[in-house]
Point group: C2
Chain length 340, copies 2
DNA sequence: ATTCTTTGCTTAAACGTTTAAGCAAGTGTT
DNA sequence: AACACTTGCTTAAACGTTTAAGCAAAGAAT
């Protein structure tokens, strides 16, 4: 059904080699006769020839394919990233295969081997917890990869991530400038470095402003019991004396879930409680009080990750680690516009 | 670096054929000696053999890959679908390559040929407007595919979609039962059949309840100027005498954008105006008045689409067209709980 | 008239698999 | 002792490309 080089060769009455040269524009170097070039091109057009990329890949060892491994492609954050990576990859004729690890290292490892068997040229990975072995495997085998969003602090590897510390620091500093003194934070109880960095930024902002870093103000909850644990955390915040007057949520899911409960409690944002969230979502606009949030530079993430990866694929360059700056999008929920 | 069948064969001192038989579990049919089987398996383990899927694909003509073509993978609707399709495909050892068409038939066509060159075994497609040629091409070439979410009314092709007519009919009927008499709808000005069906359901609900289907009540706007046009539409609704007392938005973006403007206008939902939206998003929960919406059966969409596609890949079965039922999730925004 | 170059093509091997066909022993049957 | 089966392996071609190497014919140089 589908025409191959052989079909064109037969039709024109020449060898497949000659056809290959012409199709790939090597007619000059290979000194193919003008008339022959025309006949082959004509035949190719008539047969609607489309090269078999699989055969090409087998020969060349390159598939022009990127494996994109994330926690969950249905999470807006990763879905947005996927789109940017797709567009960026397309510019260099790459396509993207994705896989969701659901935050478990086993799934991530399985995904990686599946994609490796499919000979992807490289990976863009948002690593799960306990994925050191996986990353080291890639390094040993010299397989190009770039970590995105998250990274492992002591592993020298390419990554494109946020300056999480500074992002959190700035967010909390804003709340302090707006007069809040009892600032809570609800983070995941996780070993993911980027989330710990956000906690560190929170603490440092308090410290630098001579506020006490009280353990009850930094609640670490289970992702598996997000809804229940967030309620508990907020309840304990309100039970304090004096109660918390501001909350910083360092992820989109935390923010959204937290806001739902705040709405159920009929708390007034920002009067009863100020809020700063993380990541961008429509939900922040629809809340009765527009939410102040930390915006990650998604486009830069995707663009830089692909660029870095492709550079690594074509020549194993040395390691690049990028910590990009977040933007604090200030709106009503953080309580009063900051001076500036 | 990576071990091949040949490496194993060399190490054991046998032919690659024998190794292939053992690796693929054909040792019984092929009467391979017990001791030999053990030696080959051992060598494979020691060399950490992983089959080259590209070579397999070239031989078999099957890539175990599905092409998933959508308007925009960063749209929650498609991102959710992607995740379900991924999981479902994984069960049968398939992987998914995705591509975003941005609603233009040229992009969709290009994507299709790129993926065809990569020899995907089949497609799951949410077709754009004017994609008849593309669909017909697939049919002529006998390439398995399943349309999802959208379909072309007169083209006999597999699809998994919503019963859009009924979903809209039910949504609008609810508003009528709740006492609304001036019900507006804001749809895209598009030839996409599934959206037209939603308009049809709207009109029919009005008609069956002896309400006049006035053109001013059904505004068709440009997706490219979503924000401006929605404002204009809502303004014209409010200028009517008597003004509109309920709005039905037949997509998630329309709903979210509409709600933003409603909030800016400080209209009270549902007292000033009742709202029924489409699709599921966190934003509906965070609005001060929880939004009633039409929930599409995403899991069933994905599951059925993959199932259908795989059935078509292994044996060209006859055409299946599924119109699944939506669920109306009733909350406060539609104005008063319905009787029942 | 012989050799050297250039032109324009072909041959053949390779990428890593799969699989039909073949073949040399050993075993069993008569 | 001759034959047929069975066992356990190998050979070789194929999938659709790419590309180094080779070669015949024509033209140019001596």
């Amino acid at each position: 059904m589908k025409a191959s080089l052989k079909d064109i060769a037969k039709k024109v009455g020449v060898s497949t080699a000659l056809v290959s040269y012409v199709i790939n524009g090597k007619e000059r170097e290979m000194r193919v006769g003008e008339e022959m070039v025309a006949r082959i091109k004509k035949a190719a057009r008539e047969l609607n020839y489309q090269p078999n990329q699989i055969a090409k890949s087998l020969k060349s060892g390159k598939t022009l394919t990127i494996g994109f491994i994330v926690a969950d492609i249905s999470n807006t954050f990763f879905a947005n990233l996927a789109r940017i990576i797709e567009d960026e990859a397309k510019k260099s004729n790459y396509t993207v295969i994705f896989g969701s690890s659901d935050e478990t290292p086993e799934n991530a490892w399985n995904l990686m081997t599946v994609l490796l068997n499919r000979q992807v040229d490289g990976f863009i990975i948002a690593p799960t917890v306990n994925s050191e072995a996986q990353i080291k495997y890639l390094q040993e085998k010299n397989i190009p990869f770039v970590l995105i969003d998250r990274y492992l602090p002591d592993l020298p590897a390419n990554y494109v991530a946020l300056d999480n510390y500074k992002a959190a620091f700035d967010a909390v500093s804003l709340l302090i400038r707006n007069g809040r003194r009892r600032i809570g934070m609800v983070n995941y109880d996780t070993s993911l470095f980027h989330l710990q960095e956000r906690s560190r930024g929170y603490k440092q902002a308090l410290t630098e402003n001579k506020l006490q870093v009280e353990p009850v103000l930094l609640q670490e909850i289970r992702e598996s019991h997000l809804k229940e644990d967030i309620k508990e955390a907020l309840d304990s915040f309100r039970a304090l004396e004096p109660p918390v007057d501001a909350i910083f949520f360092p992820s989109n899911k935390l923010t959204v879930t937290g806001l739902k409960y705040i709405r159920d409690l009929k708390l007034k944002v920002p009067d009863d409680i100020a809020v700063v969230g993380f990541d961008e979502t429509d939900a922040y606009d629809l809340f009765y009080c527009p939410i102040t949030y930390v915006r990650q530079p998604m486009a830069a993430f995707g663009k830089q990750a692909v660029e870095l990866l492709l550079k690594n694929i074509e020549s194993n360059k040395n390691i690049t680690q990028l910590n990009l700056e977040a933007t604090l999008v200030v709106r009503a929920s953080s309580g009063g516009m900051p001076d500036k």
